[in-house]
Subunit: 233 residues, 2 copies
DNA sequence: GAAACTCATTGGTCATACGAATTCAAGAGT
DNA sequence: ACTCTTGAATTCGTATGACCAATGAGTTTC
């Protein structure tokens, strides 16, 4: 799921990226390329490539005679999967999970409506299969297996929407669900109501009922928001 | 609005990025770093930094003994503002505008609902000001000025939602509105109905009526979708 | 025909040198 | 005392050449 920092510059990024997104170097901090190169024991060329990548994520800005300046959070490319992963691994994971879950609650219902219109027979079958998998693993402390089916389910929905922007949120949803299962709530088996909603959603898509698919996804989203205390219960 | 490729590597990116996103080098194409360096008349160091940035956007993949391979569209970081700009400047701008407008139609209503709950007095004032600006410039071929107020309006809404992910879509919305005004439809004055909806939306936010704000934004979104023939009229 | 081997190719890393922009301070002029 | 100019120090930007390491393809061997 994650990109295992290939090459030396990748290794540097896996260390520097999380440090910056975690606020270890607050916005406005100034780093020097040479110093960083020494600290990480790499050549300046490698460090420069790493800085270029951070720059393309708008995490830092490189200026002559000044150095590498950490940019304010408002500049960061928060949709970059790598940035999302770094932040979810850091201290403000809860805050991050909330932001992303609200995003999900906006996007997924519309995506589900479109999926109901455009899903192929294969996708409908996959969806049903995932839903059944969720049912089968919803009891008895099989959280990992349940998570697997849950992720697959939402991925199929997003892909079936035939909208590129929605489809690319599959990774984000996967990270959110994983983060929720591993580090957040859900110490016990998943909410049976949520499982039922997924089964019904698979039905709605199969029957091409866009409005119902959208509404069911809204209910799933409400559940996810409540889990994070974003909505009043 | 755009990043004017700073440095040599930036200049290379401004040329290579659009070429790749435009499909000039189809997925699977293999480029060689040295050849590219010669073509753009830069050193290998500079070209390597450019390739690293393209790699961080998942546009290409660099492998030993093979070269720099263009990745399939499904891998691209389509939420990267630079990638969005490159694609909007390319041949499939219409397709891109549709994807992004559908995304807007999903996100903005929810954002408006949150904005109604969280907007400060200053933001409410700004919103009203923008709406009035839109009214004032909605007639008499003042498309540029109208666009300015329209962008500002939607930016305020997204920021007032107090959700980081929504706020960062301000740039995307700006690009979509700009693209629509400059290259798409809208040869004449904007739809009066849309202007009215914006005024009402500013009202709803000021009155903290989240449900109405959400609904009004849905209507605005429907109009935007119809303009692109995504919805039946 | 399959497995092991060799080799050419390409990116990966490093070290060094020089160029260019920009900040900061010192100094001249008013 | 203040401003403007000038210069020097600093840091990134670029170029070059060398060598290393992985890997895909062709070749040999069994």
């Amino acid at each position: 799921m994650s990109t295992p920092g290939r090459g030396l510059h990748g290794h540097v990024l896996e260390s520097l990226g999380p440090a910056i997104t975690a606020g270890e170097y607050p916005p406005g901090s100034v780093l020097r390329t040479d110093e960083l190169a020494q600290r990480f024991e790499v050549s300046r060329s490698v460090m420069r490539e790493a800085v270029r990548v951070l720059e393309s994520m708008h995490l830092v800005e490189s200026r002559r005679r000044v150095g590498v300046t950490v940019l304010p959070t408002s500049e960061w490319n928060v949709y970059d999967p790598q940035v999302i992963r770094w932040r979810l691994a850091g201290a403000d994971r809860p805050r991050q999970l909330r932001s992303l879950t609200v995003l999900r609650s906006a996007v997924e219902p519309v995506a589900a409506g479109l999926a109901a219109q455009h899903a192929t027979a294969e996708e409908c079958a996959e969806l049903t299969e995932c839903a059944l998998g969720m049912v089968a693993t919803s009891r008895g402390h099989q959280l990992e297996k349940y998570l697997f089916h849950d992720i697959a389910f939402h991925r199929v929905i997003l892909n079936a929407s035939r909208n590129e922007m929605f489809a690319r949120l599959g990774d984000v949803v996967a990270e959110v669900l994983t983060g929720r299962t591993h580090h957040q709530v859900m110490f016990w088996d998943p909410d049976p109501a949520a499982v039922t909603l997924h089964v019904k959603l698979a039905e709605a898509v199969r029957e091409r009922d866009a409005a119902r698919a959208e509404e069911l996804t809204r209910e799933i989203a409400v559940g996810a928001l409540q889990e994070l205390d974003i909505l009043a219960p």
